[in-house]
């Protein structure tokens, strides 16, 4: 049986029908032809498929499409500013040379965006809240669910650190 769902995809309200076992990753890529979200391990290990559900980062390979109903979903395509220019997260990744093969990049960008949102809205892990800026260890901890097989972590963490220094 197909289930009808309505949700906001990159700020645009959409309605579609999905099978019970369809995951959000497949709906985004095949249903809406948004190929920026990458399929990696299909096991929630690599984070290449990270998207934001109501601003929280989730593995779209393990998120049932039916549960997108009523939610705000943001993909890498929705990160870009309205005028088409790159979002600060994307810009800082480019500036820092934090992109090698690029496969992990959209997932990394979404996780960094989620962390930025968390700090901007004043939510911290208790105990870490006394600091104004997340330090490298906290960035590493937040990005623990995103793998880079080129092992380009140093520049990615540099990029996040630069971003926080600028934005928070």
């Amino acid at each position: 049986m197909m289930h009808e769902i309505t949700f906001f995809l990159n700020e645009k309200e959409v309605t579609c029908k999905v099978k019970p076992a369809t995951v959000l990753l497949d709906l985004i890529r095949d249903g809406f032809e948004l190929k920026g979200t990458k399929p990696g391990c299909h096991e929630g290990e690599c984070g290449a498929c990270t998207v934001l559900v109501n601003d929280a980062p989730v593995n779209s390979c393990l998120f049932l499409a039916v549960n997108a109903n009523g939610k705000r979903i943001t993909t890498i395509e929705g990160l870009t500013n309205k005028d088409g220019s790159l979002h600060a997260v994307q810009e800082v990744l480019v500036e820092s040379g934090a992109v090698q093969c690029g496969f992990c990049t959209s997932g990394m960008a979404m996780s960094i965006k989620a962390m930025l949102h968390q700090y901007e809205s004043g939510h911290h892990v208790p105990g870490e809240s006394l600091k104004n800026l997340p330090d490298r260890e906290e960035i590493k901890k937040y990005l623990e669910g995103n793998l880079c097989r080129c092992t380009g972590y140093v520049k990615i963490i540099d990029a996040a650190e630069k971003l926080f220094a600028k934005e928070v």
Binding site: P20, A21, G44, T50, V66, N67, V125, K141, E144, G145
Partner: protein, 287 residues
Amino acid sequence: MEFNIINPVSVKELLGAVKKEKHFRFGAGCTDLLMELRKKPDEGLTVINLAQVKDNSFTGIKKSAKGIRMGAMFTAHQIVMNEELKKTFPVLHDSAHNLASTQIRQVATVGGNLCTASPSGDIACALVALRADCELLNTTQKTRTVNISTFFTGVRQTALKPNEVLYGISIPANHKNTKNNYSGFIKVGTRRSMECSVVSLAYHIQVNVEGKILKAGVAIGASAPTVRLAESACDFLIGKTFKNITQKEKEEFADKVLSYASPITDIRATAWYRKEVLYNISKSIFE
């Protein structure tokens, strides 16, 4: 991967679905379930999707004089971000903070971690050390409470009956005369993130202002068919002063913890290794 799905939005609808369906599994955060079903399809299965149920007792957290009660759908992320939990039960905070990854923690639930009943369940291990109670709701809307150490009946098996759903988890309040408790979660694995524990140890040791141990909870993970409370090791600590525990007493304590372990050899570690590590981390909590 194929299955049918029911999406109840209220507890009444949820219980109706449990009553009606014969061959079903609950889906909470679905992070374990989807992987399992991808590897091992289950023909004719109905997933009762818990993610859309709107009910504060099922999704929220409440503090009372008796302690803290979390709904079964409270997520690992919510545990991590909760100041009160971090302050009162550091072992629970630590276990949730070290669970899987940031992304998984957003959706993975405390109820899911318990009902999966993995011997290496991290939150499960912390809740056993905290001597939590599980509140089970049946299709006639009656609840029964079982202590968490009797909730786990075997590898991936629980005391949950076919007409029941895990509704909430209650953690008893700390002893009123305790201060600066020793509470933490030690997880041993081959890497820090996204790791299934090779051995884990959860401890929550409550001491009074002089440092005398009034209450203790110590649980072991990935060392037996279920997470287990090391009851005799807990009893051994009562009345002792935490900081004055001697080397001999540390060893005796670690021996008692070890007596609850019956680990297996698998892809992650040998049984011998697990026992050695468990013995050593048990001693390390006093250092």
